[in-house]
Symmetry: C4
Subunit: 255 residues, 4 copies
C-alpha cells in the first residue's frame, strides 16, 4: 500500500464544481450535512473517487458481513438547479499531524482534476451547552469572500473560533489558499455533546443560498426530533443522578 492510493471509480464531466467537505468532526455536523446532500441529490450523483491511505487508521468497517478498507469517498454531482459539486465524505480523519497535510493535498488534487476552484469545509463549533438558536460561524481564506457569506447569514465573530480550525477543514483553507482556491469554512453552532441534525440544517441552508440548490429537510428533521427526545430523557436522568456525557459510541447507536 502506497502512502496514497486514489481509485478512479468513474469519470464525470463537471462544470466549475465546488468541493464540499464533510469529514467527521464536532457534533458530526459536517458529516450529517454532506450525507444529507448525498441523500437528497442521489439521482444526480456518482461515486467518482475512493482515497485510501496509510494515514487512515489501519482497519476495515464491516457491513452485512463484508469488509471495507478505511477510505474517503468523493461523489460528483451534476447540479440540476444549483452548482456542480464534489462531495467528500469518510469515517475517519488522518491519524497524524503529517497525515492531515497529506490527505488535504490529495483532496485538493482531486478537486483540481475536476476543475474546481472553490471549497466549502463544513463543521461544527462547540458552544458547550444545549442551544435553541443555530447560528453559522464562518472563516474564509480571503477577505473578498466575506460579503457573499455575510449576505447568506454567516456570522464572522472576532474571537471565534477560539484556537483556530484544526484538521482537514482548517487545512482546506490554509493549503487551499496557497494553491489558488477560494475556500470557506461553515461551522454550525452545536452543543458538542450530541450528533446535531439542527446544526447540520443551519449549515445546509447557507449552502443552499450560495450554491443555488433547493433541499428538502424531512429526514434531517426526523433525526432532530429523535434527538429532542433523547435530550429530554438525558435531562430527566441528570436531574436524578450524576451522569456521564454520552460517549461517541452511545451516539452512534442513536444517530
Amino acid at each position: 500500500m502506497d502512502e496514497l492510493e486514489i481509485d478512479a471509480v468513474a469519470e464525470v464531466e463537471l462544470d466549475d464544481p465546488v468541493l464540499v467537505e464533510g469529514l467527521p468532526g464536532v457534533g458530526h455536523v459536517g458529516t450529517l450535512a454532506v450525507e444529507h446532500l448525498l441523500e437528497e441529490l442521489e439521482g444526480e450523483s456518482t461515486l467518482v473517487r475512493r482515497i485510501y491511505s496509510r494515514e487512515f487508521p489501519p482497519q476495515v468497517s464491516v457491513e452485512d458481513g463484508v469488509s471495507e478498507l478505511t477510505c474517503a469517498e468523493i461523489h460528483a454531482v451534476e447540479g440540476s438547479d444549483g452548482r456542480d459539486l464534489l462531495l467528500l465524505t469518510g469515517d475517519h480523519q488522518a491519524q497524524s499531524n503529517d497525515g492531515h497535510y497529506t490527505l488535504t493535498d490529495a483532496f485538493l488534487d482531486v478537486a483540481e482534476e475536476f476543475g474546481a476552484s472553490e471549497v466549502y469545509a463544513l463543521g461544527g463549533v462547540p458552544t458547550g451547552e444545549l442551544i435553541d438558536e443555530y447560528a453559522v460561524v464562518g472563516a474564509v481564506s480571503d477577505e473578498s469572500l466575506l460579503e457573499r457569506l455575510e449576505d447568506a447569514g454567516v456570522e464572522f465573530r472576532e474571537d471565534e473560533p477560539a484556537g483556530g480550525i484544526v484538521g482537514v477543514s482548517g487545512l482546506l483553507l490554509g493549503l487551499g489558499e496557497r494553491r489558488g482556491f477560494e475556500a470557506s469554512c461553515l461551522m454550525g453552532e452545536t452543543s458538542g455533546y450530541l450528533v446535531d441534525p439542527k446544526s447540520a440544517r443551519a449549515v445546509l441552508e447557507v449552502l443552499e443560498d450560495v450554491l443555488g440548490f433547493d433541499l428538502e429537510y424531512e429526514s434531517l428533521d426526523e433525526r432532530a426530533d429523535e434527538m429532542e427526545e433523547v435530550i429530554g430523557k438525558i435531562q430527566e436522568m441528570e436531574q436524578q443522578q450524576q451522569m456521564d456525557v454520552p460517549t461517541d459510541d452511545d451516539l452512534r447507536y442513536i444517530g
Copy 2:
C-alpha cells in the same frame, strides 16, 4: 536494519496454500488457535520465513538465557488430509498505524510467493462477560465468500463487529481484497478477560470444516479446564472483595 527484513529459512513447494493468521489480539484467540495447529501438524510443518521489522517493538525475548529479536514467523504445512497452509505467528503487532500497513503487505507478499490466494485471519470478539456458548462471528472481503462460511456455522451479524476490525486482521481483509485475495476473518466470541482456549477451539472447528483437516483437541481442552478452575476461583474472590481484572501478565503465567 531495513524497514523489513525477511529471512528465507527454508523452501517448501506448496499447492494453492491458505494463509492463516494468528497474531496477538483479543483473548489471544488467534494465537492459541494457530499455535495449536502448529502443535497438531508438527510433523508436516516447516519454518520457512522469519520477518523482522523496524515496525516491531525494539526488543528481544529471552528463553533459557538466549535472546531472540522480535519477529513474526511463517510455517509451511503440507497438508496430509487438508489444504496446504501458511501459518503466521508472532508475539507482537506493529507499533504504529503505518506499521500495520507495512507488515500486512509483507505477509501478503510472502503468501503470494508461495502461491496463496486465500487468507483466514483468526481472532476474538469480546462480549464483555463470561459466556457458555462460543459462536464464531465472521467478516469477508467479498460477499461470494459468505455462503461457504455460513454453512460451516459462522455467524454474520448486522451490528458486529462494532467499530470494525482493527490491525493486521482487518488489513488482511482490506489490503487482501485490493490485491486479489479471498480473505475471511473468523472471530471467536470471548469474554476478553482471559486467554480463551474454548474460543480458539470454536474457531478451529470452523477451519477444520472449510480446510478439510482433522484436529485433536486434548491439549486445548486441558487448558480450557485450567481456565475453568481459574474462573471459579476468580468468581469466589469477587464475591469476597472488589477485585481488579487479571492483567495480561497474570494471564501469561496461567496461559
Copy 3:
C-alpha cells in the same frame, strides 16, 4: 505541501544581522519580548520570510474571519542605533522531536542567507512561584561568549537550567554551534504560571546592552500592571478556596 516551504515575502540587505528567536515557551517570555521589539522597531522592520511546515500543527488561525495557515515569520530590522536584526516569531512549535530539528535547521538556513552568524534564543526559566526580582539566566554555545553576557548582567548558574534547554531554543544553541554560529540563550526568571511582561523586560534590557539599541517599555509596563491586578485577584481567590492554576486559555484571554 512539502516538509518545508519558505515564502520569500520581501528582500532586505542586512549587515551582519543577529537572529533573535521568540517562539512560544515558558511564561511566553520569548514571544512577549520579540513582539515588543517588533512593536518598538515597526518603522525599521520588514516581513521577509514566512516558513510553513508539515511539522507545524495542521491548523489555521482565524482573525476577523480570515484564515492563516500555521507558520513562523521572520522580520528583518535595519537597526538605526543598534545591530541589524532578524526577528523570529510564531504561534506554535514543532509537534514532533524530529520536527524541532527540521525547523531549527530551516531558521538557521534563513539566518545564513541573510549573513547572520549570531543567535539569541529568548525564553523563560520557571521558578515555580511568584517572584519580585527578575534575574536573567543564560546558556551559550561556547565559553568565549560568557564574559560579554556576564557584563550585561546575565547569570550563569551551576545547576540551571535543570534538565537543559528543550525545543527550538535549545537546538539553536546545539545545531547553531555545529554550523558555526555564536548562539546564546537568555531566559528570564518567571513563575511559569502567567504570561510575564516583567520577565520579558528583563531579557530585553540585556539585549539592549549587547545589541546597542534603546527601547521604550510603556506598553510592556502597562501589561505588567494588568498582570499585577490579576495576580492580586488570584491571591485573594486562593485565600478563599482551592483554585486550579489558570490555564493557557484563560491566560490568552488575559494576555
Copy 4:
C-alpha cells in the same frame, strides 16, 4: 542535521576491542558501571566518537553555562592488563521505536569500524524491593556464550527477564546477532527505586572476570554508603507517613 551525524573526534588503533554499553536504564546501573570504568581507566581512554541524531530528544544540556547538544559518546580504551574496550555512554535513549533500531545500528557500525566483534550491554533488572544480595542476571545472543558467563557467576534464569529486554540493550543482542557479533547482556539486580552503585559493582565484577582487568571500587563504594544513608532516612520517613517514591530528579540530586 541528518538522521545520524557521527563526529570522528580522534582515531585510536585497537586490537579486537569489546563494545561495552552503558546508556540510561533501570537503576542507572549500566550508566554507573560504564562511568566508573571511564573514571578508573582515565589514563588509557580517549574520546573517539560523538553520535548526534534526530532520534535523540531535541535539547541541549548545560554545564557551567555552556550548552552541549544531546549525543552519545564512545571512548576507546587501550587496556593495559585487560581487553581493549569501546565504552558507550549517553544521557538519553532514542525517543521512538524506530529510533532505537537506527541508533543501535550506528553503535554497531562504530564497533565494526574499530574491529570489535563482541558486545556487552549493561543494565539493571528490577526486583521491586530493596535487596541485600546482588546477583547478575544474563542473556546472550548465542548459547555458546552461556558457559563462560556462568563461570563468572552470571545467573541465567528461566523466567527472566520477564518481558524480554527493551531498547538499545536488547537490540544490541538482537541486531548484534544478525550482524555477526557475540553479544551479552549483564543485568544487575536492583530495587529499581534508586540509582544503585552496588548493582553497578556486581556487574563490573563480572566484567573484570571476563575481560581481564582490575578495578578499584572506592568511589562506587562511597556512593553506595551515601545511598545506604538515604535508604535509612527513607525507611524512617515511611514509618512516619505515606511517602512517594523519590523521583529521578531527586535521585540525580543525590546521585
